[in-house]
Amino acid sequence: MISADQQPDLRRKLRRSKSRARLRGLLLVAPALLLLMVAFVAPIGGMLFNAVANPEFRSAMPRLADYVREWDGQELPGEEGYRLLAEEIGRAYSDKTLPGAAMRLNYEQSGLRSLFMRAGRRADRLEAPYRRSFLELDKDWGSISVWQAMQAASAPFTARYLLQAVDREITWDGEIRLVEPEKRVFVDRFEATFWISFVVTSLCALIGYPMAYAIAAAPPRRARLMLVLLLLPFWTSLLVRTAAWVVLLQRDGIINDALIWIGVVDQPVQLIFNRLGVYIAMTHILLPFMALPLYSVMKGISPNHMRAAASLGAGPISAFWTVYFPQTVPGLGAGCLLVYVLAIGFYITPALVGGSGDQMISYLIANFALGTANWSVASALAIVLLCCVAIFYPFFRRYVGIDRLRLG
């Protein structure tokens, strides 16, 4: 028995030991947390910053940037503005920061890059009166839109890349509108990404449901074997599987040979480098992610439920729909969520088995980053894609949870 005066002491001890355990837990988690912060969370934050940062013009011509920030934007600046322009362009040209700024201005209005670079090359010939001197160089220097472009490029942050990622642009007076039809490329790719992911998720559900059912209903030893067979493709390198599909689906590949032999077609058909190839290869890769959560739910459903339904007079079909299927919905939901979220981010497989119209948004991101080194647009597209995935994240934690992520 613990006497009354010992109780507070014990309580304190318990509290201390609990807080010590808590501290130990935090210390154990700390290295992983630190690593994630430094090499994952901070980089993603940096990418967000990169998508809205607007440093090129300001870093090349800081005084001019300050000047155009103050400018009212209504009518052309006076002589003082043009004098500053001449000085800043000349200096930026000689310290080689002008090309970056000119490129940035060109995003605002095409043609500005050559206008600024030409002025930079001839900066030593610009003299008072500066305004006339500029106009003699090129009459475009008398256009107010050039100054408006400079004003847009001088702000510390810009929404133009994020807007561009959804095919929108902001006009000088603050109106957001669609870009010209021939420049609308991104929304189209986002739609294709969602559609491909949807079709692949549906195919995975249609193929994976009966498979998971068969494994759950099989006797243990056979179920084990079927699970291993289900997992084998999963453990095989993504590139190996993609390579296998390229080989099988090509014009003189086995599938075409088989189709001709059966007599379904008499000419080889195009099965790859189109949408069909993307559906086939992606479904193949993602199928285990659907079948495994389904199986783990189905394994827990007692066969007695179906027997009870049958004994109460339900036919096999109505017993399935009213008794069995509703119990598998959590597994189906988890599988669909997992497959859809993973499918949205696919890059390698569509890049290797799809045509140019079947590329997903990840392909564009990689292309902007690695192909044209346009980090701002790549970052903006990545942010939009990240938001599309993040929408599913709360559902994910609720319906999939960490247990069903256990693969294998």
């Binding site: 980089p43 040979d257 990840s362 992520l405």
Partner: protein, 275 residues
């Protein structure tokens, strides 16, 4: 699921249809993997049937230094370093998450698994932009750190699952017998969760060994891994040696699958208390 004599025609039809569907599903899953294997022994230059004689020429090509063997060496370097780092850090984290209850635990868990769900291109781009500032792009260190981030969730998930089946009273018994927390972990917990840790390590290894998207961003020609070379080969020209390489990699994955299955079997036996 033996056919019962009193099964109604609808039931029999359903069962037959199910068999066909499931068979087709497994065929779809396994056929591409099986079908490439014979092609790797093809004597001809084309990747199509019928085979033109049997030859090991493509295997000879695989074992030439460039590109496949240098790629393999780079892959093994990156994957083994990633495995060690991710397994140690991930096991500690999973143990900390499972054995104590601090505020924000759910948030930390969510953060730990998020690299699994964030599209690889985003992770690759973000890490590239950050690492470029510190000169870590086109270095082994940068690639290993990035792969560790990707492998961490697999270790955390696997070890957490093992710890959930772990009876914590054993730890309490150990400490009541005078063992320090460290001794208790080393002599009681560790042997029991070792199979889980090892399968986490295998997952970490495969994650890195297979990874190509982040490698596209972070690896320079000096760090090109096997998948990175395979990506180039598949995109530019279908070289038959890739099928020989694929066959070898399929063998490796079968081997790893067997290892993980054995570990799981061992873990389940340990959990049932029959070591």
């Amino acid at each position: 699921m033996s056919a019962r004599p009193f099964a109604s025609p609808v039931e029999r039809l359903g069962r037959g249809a199910l068999r066909v569907l499931v068979g087709a599903g497994f065929l779809f899953l396994l056929a591409p993997i099986v079908a490439v294997i014979p092609l790797s022994f093809n004597g001809g230059d084309f990747l199509s049937y019928p085979l033109r004689g049997v030859s090991l020429q493509w295997y000879a090509r695989v074992f030439e230094p460039f590109p496949w063997m240098t790629g393999l060496a780079n892959s093994l370097t990156v994957a083994s370093a990633t495995t060690v780092l991710a397994t140690v850090v991930g096991t500690l984290a999973a143990y900390g998450l499972a054995t104590s209850d601090f505020r924000g635990r759910g948030l930390v868990m969510g953060l730990m698994i998020s690299p699994m769900l964030v599209p690889l291109v985003i992770t690759g781009l973000a890490i590239y932009l950050a690492f470029a500032r510190y000169g870590l792009v086109h270095t082994f260190v940068g690639l290993i750190l990035a792969h560790t981030i990707l492998a961490l969730p697999f270790v955390v998930v696997t070890v957490t699952a093992t710890l959930q089946g772990f009876d914590r009273n054993m730890m309490r018994a150990a400490s009541s017998l005078g063992a320090s927390p460290l001794t208790a972990f080393r002599t009681v917990t560790m042997p029991l969760i070792a199979p889980g840790i090892l399968s986490g390590a295998v997952f970490a290894f495969v994650t890195s060994f297979d990874e190509v998207v982040v490698a596209l961003f972070l690896a320079g020609p000096g760090q090109f891994t096997l998948p990175r070379h395979m990506f180039t080969a598949l995109r530019d020209k279908l070289d038959p040696s890739i099928v020989a390489l694929a066959t070898l990699l399929i063998l490796v994955s079968i081997l790893l699958l067997i290892v993980v299955e054995l570990l799981r079997w061992r873990s389940e036996r340990l959990r049932r208390g029959r070591p």
